[in-house]
Symmetry: C2
Subunit: 413 residues, 2 copies
């Protein structure tokens, strides 16, 4: 079964009732924990996600994704700018005309023409962005900090005057001069946006840097703070956590984390991160929908759900090595910080491989009505190890081996 | 610093000539940066990686992976316990008998029988682990803290008395009582192990918690500190960074991050994280081998290199949205914190899609010898957007469109 599918047979411990009360929080370390006050999801699968190299969503797929995320309970969805293409504009207007529970945003450059076109589509809010780092100011637009403030504040006023939520974001915040940033945010804050956004556009920030910068902004503005993190150096989720700890309240995510280059904060990973720390922040979402949402978007894109995806990877709740399965069979909490049942999933104990331990074999045998004594168990476990040295045994092969052993060794229980 | 033998691979200043300062570091924010003193790679692809649900490495594949990682320059490789299966023991002894630059480790339970079997295989070091959290102590082994100390210290002495490096690790460190941990580590340290290991076995720690716990251990032991991080909540790389900042010097990684459940710290992601912060820590490795190493292991496993993988995802250096490509064409550093050339890779500017901007179209046209004027460029860009609203254009389709436009609109340069 090299490279093949996970075992098809039912999970060995499936069907057991979930442990109560939620194993996610009981024993988890509470030291060095920063309390997070608020958490809102801005799903950008249909904006940032469209910037993923392989992404092109048809109008029908956009509606399908939006419906699923609406049912899940995301607070906001951000769609591609109406200036991107004729269909992008049509899709945005269609989405704006439909009933929905999330608030609809679009994302445009920070100028009056773009903002007015966005306002006219019927969205609930407009996200504008301005490059503020010296690197991007030079190659992107050439404006001075004073000009950024003047244009930014008046565009924000145009949006709020139209009765919509405005968000002003500094692109590439973590390579911007912090004094410039503070000057910009304090000035923009006076124009009463719903949020200012900090963006690690290039995926270079560390959690420590995020915490410091967001904390500084938090002390200097009255509006909410949104955070957007790319994953180029693998820290997107941890950076989003640091932003929340420092007082940000809105996190940009996409399904699976798709976006420019190797993407941004994934919806499922963000949920997993907060569930183990402050479950009350994410309990209002329909967590059981997460696996189907990830699978749906992966299928649309023609990719696998990556094996390293928190929660929804096929193997996220698989237990393999003997020491792990021994402990998990005694108490799932031993090696699980989240109950898979919270996501409508079941753990699997993998037994047909050479890393197997006696407890996993005993458990598998019990499903077949076989009870080996200790010596038999040791012997049959060694036999499984020896046989699977040439490759994993499928569950039916393993079961046949256990049955055979039970009969020929007179070990039937 | 004590901590046993120096790693077998050359020190940071050895090997390749140091690069002139690259774009990875020039403008990157230097605020809130913690200086990391040392970084050594313990690659566990052939131990932790074997615990990935889909992994079963043949002897030939193990040698192939080890050879590639030896050429890359990993400092250590850890292989599955010889107690796991007959072939596991044979593979370990074979690896121990072969010439190599990395130091060879294996990983066994902390008892004398297992340790002696490990010593007898000819490895350079033995990693022992003991569950220290109350959750795991109960369901895993049932020993008291005093018993853990007594057994642990004597096993460490057995290993060091045999002339090998010993590492003692506390499994599930972040759900262990910190007073227990300190007591254990201080006592074990007196037995002169090369390293003590902290393990976020269940993937629940935050960077802040890691920094605090590792800092505390750093103040209380003389030996080196190793860190092992699972990725259940998406923070493995950030947690490893926090450990290094707090004084750990050895990080467990696997190729692509494969391991139990959704895995651990990926080799490539760890490299990317440090390259943007302190490139001197990773310059001694053959970074250009990273794409082929990730691709090789993915192929063996029958999986894709996940799209979200730093550096080696097919799309990690793809630029798509108009604002991004405009800036990247002017200065790649605008949206890249690492030079893809450092990894033998090239950036790609995607132009045949509806998010395209004028600059990407101008660049593509220039490749065809076409120079549009500003009005033509605007018009042809809009035409590309309109056409690709139905789906992306392949490069040959895009080129045909540009050529056709250039001829019929008399825009040939």
């Amino acid at each position: 079964m090299r490279g093949g599918q996970p075992p098809a047979s039912p999970p060995t411990s499936g069907g057991k009732p979930p442990q109560a009360p939620t194993e996610t929080t009981l024993d988890t370390d509470t030291r060095n924990r920063m309390r997070i006050e608020r958490f809102h999801i801005i799903d950008s699968t249909l904006r940032e996600g469209e910037q993923f190299a392989l992404a092109h969503f048809t109008p029908e797929q956009k509606l399908q994704i939006a419906q699923a995320l609406d049912d899940f309970g995301v607070d906001y969805m951000e769609l591609t700018s109406p200036l991107a293409s004729p269909q992008s504009a049509a899709d945005l207007r269609l989405m704006a005309s439909r009933p929905r529970s999330f608030r609809l945003l679009t994302h445009v450059r920070c100028n009056h023409d773009d903002a007015q076109l966005a306002i006219d589509t019927g969205v609930d809010g407009v996200d504008v962005l301005f490059a503020t780092s010296s690197a991007l100011r030079t190659v992107s637009h050439g404006y001075s900090i004073d000009e950024i403030i003047e244009i930014g504040a008046s565009v924000v006023r145009r949006i709020t005057d139209a009765g919509l939520e405005a968000r002003f974001s500094s692109e590439d915040s973590f390579r911007s001069d912090p004094d410039d940033l503070l000057r910009i945010y304090r000035a923009i804050d006076k124009a009463r946006p719903a949020r200012v956004g900090l963006a690690d556009t290039v995926g270079v920030a560390t959690p420590r840097q995020v915490y410091e910068l967001v904390s500084m902004v938090r002390r200097n503005v009255e509006c909410d703070i949104e955070f957007h993190a790319h994953n180029d150096t693998g820290c997107a989720i941890a950076n989003a956590l640091a932003a929340l700890e420092a007082g940000a309240s809105h996190i940009d995510v996409t399904v699976l984390g798709i976006g420019e280059r190797n993407g941004i904060v994934p919806l499922g990973g963000m949920i997993a991160r907060l569930l183990t720390l402050q479950p009350e922040l994410v309990e209002r979402y329909d967590l059981e929908m997460l696996p189907q949402i990830d699978a749906m978007v992966a299928e649309i894109l023609g990719i696998e759900v990556p094996f390293n995806t928190p929660v929804t990877a096929a193997n996220a709740f698989h237990h393999k090595a003997g020491m792990h399965t021994k402990a998990v069979l005694a108490d799932p909490h031993a090696y699980e910080v989240m109950d898979p049942g919270r996501f409508g999933l079941e753990r699997q104990i993998l037994a047909g491989h050479r890393l197997v331990g006696r407890h996993a074999i005993r458990d598998r045998a019990a499903l077949l009505g076989i009870a080996f004594d200790d010596d038999q168990l040791r012997a049959v476990t060694n036999e499984v190890k020896r046989r699977s040295d040439d490759g994993p045994l499928a569950n039916d092969e393993l079961d046949a081996l256990l049955m055979h052993w039970a009969v020929t060794k007179e070990g039937v229980g």
